[in-house]
């Protein structure tokens, strides 16, 4: 049985910097593939509604008449499905998450 096996870790800990990042003084590092919030280039959108039908959480709303596309950010689970199915490739996932919000709010985009 080792004698006080934790000592090594504790001593090492005393002489190293904190492993946590000092956010917000040090900005958060994102990976290129991180799934954050959904972005839309609404000029390219043809309002076909495929993204609306496929979204697992029903976060997207599309209206052909009004030429509008909306999303409830708090519903979206950043699954990437809408990005994959969009025929015009006008959706993309940002690496940054959407900001915290106090409820379900629609964010609308118009062509």
């Amino acid at each position: 049985m080792a004698f006080l096996p934790m000592t090594k870790l504790i001593v090492k800990n005393l002489f190293t910097r904190p492993v946590t990042e000092r956010y917000p003084f040090v900005p958060k590092k994102y990976y290129p593939g991180t799934r954050g919030k959904v972005l839309i280039e609404v000029e390219k959108c043809i309002f076909c509604g495929i993204c609306q039908r496929r979204c697992p959480t029903a976060a997207i709303g599309v209206s052909k008449e009004k030429k509008s596309w909306d999303i409830e950010r708090m519903r979206c689970i950043s699954c990437n499905l809408c990005v994959e199915v969009c025929p015009k490739k006008c959706l993309a996932l940002d690496v940054k998450y959407s900001a915290a919000a106090g409820g379900l709010q629609k964010e609308e985009f118009h062509a």
Binding site: A2, P5, M6, L9, G33, R35, I77, S78, N80, L93
Partner: protein, 359 residues
């Protein structure tokens, strides 16, 4: 001779990550019997299968559990793929192994931290979670999510890992392995830790088998059973053996998990070396018609997915038997006759994941 008292344990308790309620019948400090009550976080996810098309349902399956998310999604895919007779490309199968083992490592590190916290060893808890963070970084880099990978899909996987990245991951994991060893030494060698774990919560081999224990709980009771040995998703091509311990107490369960950390790193290494270039998914056409039971090994034990399709794009029935659910009965057995102060540690050694047990 004193009378019996009932002490409620949970659903809110400092050691419990998730709500489960136990009525502990105690005589002095000794637990005579434990009566469980679950169902605090039932979400009705199995029923949702009738409203979500079978391809999109993998997102729901992944969200059954926040820790073994990938393996849940993957097992669902295995079931549907078998029903639809889809052959998953070899590269995708190895990628699935890599992600499964990464989730095993992060889950076990999480468990080690929680257990250290349960017996009051705060710095050990922090150290375990520091390591887990490094694994989560690898996961985020390769899948885009830290907890919900979102990389399994019917017919393959969604993302690829390039050969260089894979090399880098293996190298990183090897260096973390040394740090995991250091932590493992504390868990297995420290006197105070041994004092809390040795001889506590013994589950005999016979009762482990009779009560249907799964995963590390079963293997710590001396039963050599690991669903990965069945060879799903190319596990059959890798060389490994179930990790078995004989002592059947909390210490043995801890040891099984610590040894599995090493094993998982080894499995990722060999999966990386076998990975051949090729497609990562196949196109899925048609709808599932038929039924299948898919089984896989999660960090907590065997999970079973039953899927039944009727030729439409909505499955008719989906059923999940999660490892925690199977381990609750053995847990009640181990609680019999233990000291009240040991209850938190014993409850934690089944690695309870209640929200997946209740779905």
């Amino acid at each position: 001779m004193s009378g019996r008292t009932i002490i409620p344990f949970g659903p809110q308790h400092p050691v419990l990550p998730e709500p489960i309620h136990l009525d502990l019948v105690v005589e002095d400090e000794k637990v005579i019997e434990a009566i469980p009550r679950i169902g605090f976080i039932h979400r009705g996810l199995e029923r949702l299968v009738e409203k979500k098309d079978f391809i999109d349902f993998v997102y729901v399956a992944e969200r059954i559990c926040g820790i073994c998310s990938f393996i849940h999604g993957m097992t669902y895919c295995l079931a549907v793929e078998e029903v639809m007779k889809i052959e998953v490309p070899a590269r995708a199968q190895y990628l699935r192994i890599v992600w499964s083992e990464l989730s095993r490592i992060h889950s076990h590190l999480l468990w080690l931290g929680l257990t250290a916290d349960a017996f009051g060893f705060e710095s050990l808890f922090m150290q375990s979670w520091r390591l887990r963070e490094l694994i989560l970084d690898i996961i985020e880099e390769t899948t885009g999510g830290r907890v919900i990978f979102g990389s399994a899909k019917v017919g393959g996987v969604r993302r690829d890992i390039s050969a260089e990245k894979m090399q880098e991951i293996v190298k990183k994991l090897r260096s973390y392995q040394k740090e995991m060893d250091d932590i493992g030494k504390v868990f297995l060698g420290d006197l105070t830790v041994q004092h809390r774990l040795r001889g506590v919560g013994v589950l005999s081999t016979a009762s482990a088998k009779a009560l249907g224990a799964v995963g590390p709980m079963l293997r710590a009771s001396g039963v050599s059973s690991d669903i990965r040995m069945m060879g799903y998703s190319s596990y059959g091509t890798l060389d490994f053996a179930p990790i078995v311990e004989q002592d059947a107490d909390c210490y043995a369960r801890c040891k099984v998990r610590i040894r599995e950390l090493d094993q998982s790193v080894g499995l990722i290494e060999s999966a990386a070396s076998k990975m051949i270039d090729g497609p990562i998914d196949v196109k899925v056409t048609g709808t599932p018609n038929g039924e299948f039971f898919a089984r896989s090994e999660q960090p907590r034990g065997e999970v079973i997915y039953y899927a039944k399709g009727n030729g439409t794009k909505f499955l008719q029935r989906m059923r999940v038997r999660t490892p925690t659910f199977a381990n609750i009965t053995p847990l009640l057995e181990t609680l019999k006759g233990c000291q009240l102060a040991d209850v938190p540690v014993i409850v934690l050694t089944i690695d309870p994941c209640i929200s997946c047990a209740e779905r």
